[in-house]
Amino acid sequence: MVEKVDTIVVGAGPAGSATAYSLAETGHEVLLVERAKTPGEKNVSGGVLFGSVLHKLIPNFWEEAPVERTITKRSLILLAGDSSVSLDFTSPKLGKPPHSGYSIIRNEFDQWFAKRAEEAGALLATGIRVDTLLWENKRIVGIKAGDDEIKANVVVAADGINSILTEQAGLRKALQSKNIGLGIKEVIQLPHDIIETRFNLEGNEGTAHTYLGCTKNYPGGGFLYTNCDSLSLGIVVKLPSFYNGAKTKAPEFIDHLKQFPYISRLIKDGELIEYSAHLVPEGGYRDLSKLYTDGFLVTGDAAGLALNIGYALEGMNFAIASGIAAAKTIQRANQQRNYTKKTMKYYQRLMNQSFVLKDMKTFRNAPAIINNTRLMKTYPEVINNLALNLFQSNGSPRPKLVNLILKHILREVSLPNLMLDGIQAVRGL
């Protein structure tokens, strides 16, 4: 194995492959190291890939990349027992490239992306776990993997949410449970024509759902999206839920979700073909790691770059954007032959200017809403009860709409709490 390369990227997920591809494309030497035998085998996600950023890197990528369905329908659904209230949005505009979202199978997609980086000239080394950073005079100068030591001008951490390298570099403290969600997902196989009928889709159109009210009394939510011939169904529960003497064990949360009639009808006769779990950074802007130091950059989940604002979840797109910014920083550093903090700081500047950190800053108060358990249980119940009263004629006189709304909400939520939640929602969203 080579003993010195210009840049080492650790982790062949979207952040790592975007970094390696961008560097290789412009003729820069880069080694992409991945612990799985094949890139993608360790990676799990629970959402839609938005296309706009990747399109800038690989124009019209959707024509060659293994994407499943183009998401043309989005729904936010409040579940309460056997009832549900949903807000649906459907428009061909959602499916219009390059701003469209795609459902993807990560094993296939990440493999394709890493291969693209390799074809562009990156060295791809798989089946190698990076154990530690290599230091000289208190500066990061490379990586150690088993007995191998490889030096580099810059090491890019793209090693995911449990980034051991970012901690070793001293750029973040150990992750705290309050800032992390546990995502659990099942992939359920169904024939594509049944998916199309059941979800009212045509051809390769797809849908993505977000659920609230499905995580008992704990902060979290659920999701579903359609692949070509399978559904990805999952939940995300905040980790502190497991401290409260939760009677529900982690794997049972997804069983609970599947019991709602709304869900059980969608997955009926489907076959479970994969179970998986992955952590989600949910601390937002305030819980980001430091992004750089001498000869070292942090990208994607490793830095905590993800956004959860209840109705939308974004991570892969942020990862790709950060990878592109990291590559630009390294290209510039290579020209200047300077790899100190001074040149690495350019990455922070690019990220500050990008939609990634702008969005994370705008929604910096969103994590408080995600932690509000009233949002997860009380409001979905209240709104479902209200809907029942609105649409059911039970022989008694109908109250006026405003009175009905106030009656239902104030019966379950005290006025001060209602006001606090309102303020929180305005601040956060």
Partner: protein, 91 residues
């Protein structure tokens, strides 16, 4: 309708290493009352048998939940060595 954890994990492919990638200091578990690892591990690798924690790394799906939940610092956590561990076919 609950699905057994064995059925869920049965959908997965593993290449199991001879050595464990996670070490648990069971002495420290004795002082832990809430034992969040048992509840939080999505692969149910932690079991309480005769009031003692038992851990088996073979079913681990490498999420990192146990490391973050454990406030007794009883868990020495790492990924499996290269090529070992779970291999998601979908993800």
């Amino acid at each position: 309708m609950t699905t057994k954890i064995e059925t869920k994990l049965g959908t997965l492919r593993y290449n199991i290493d001879k050595e464990a990638h996670i070490q648990v200091n069971f002495q420290l578990c004795k002082n832990c009352i809430i034992k969040p690892c048992i509840i939080g591990c999505p692969a149910q690798c932690f079991q309480l048998i005769d009031r003692e924690i038992h851990f088996q790394y073979e079913d681990c799906i490498e999420c990192g939940t146990c490391k973050i939940l454990c406030d007794k610092k009883a868990i020495q956590w790492n990924y499996p060595r290269g090529t070992f561990g779970v291999a998601f076919q979908k993800g």
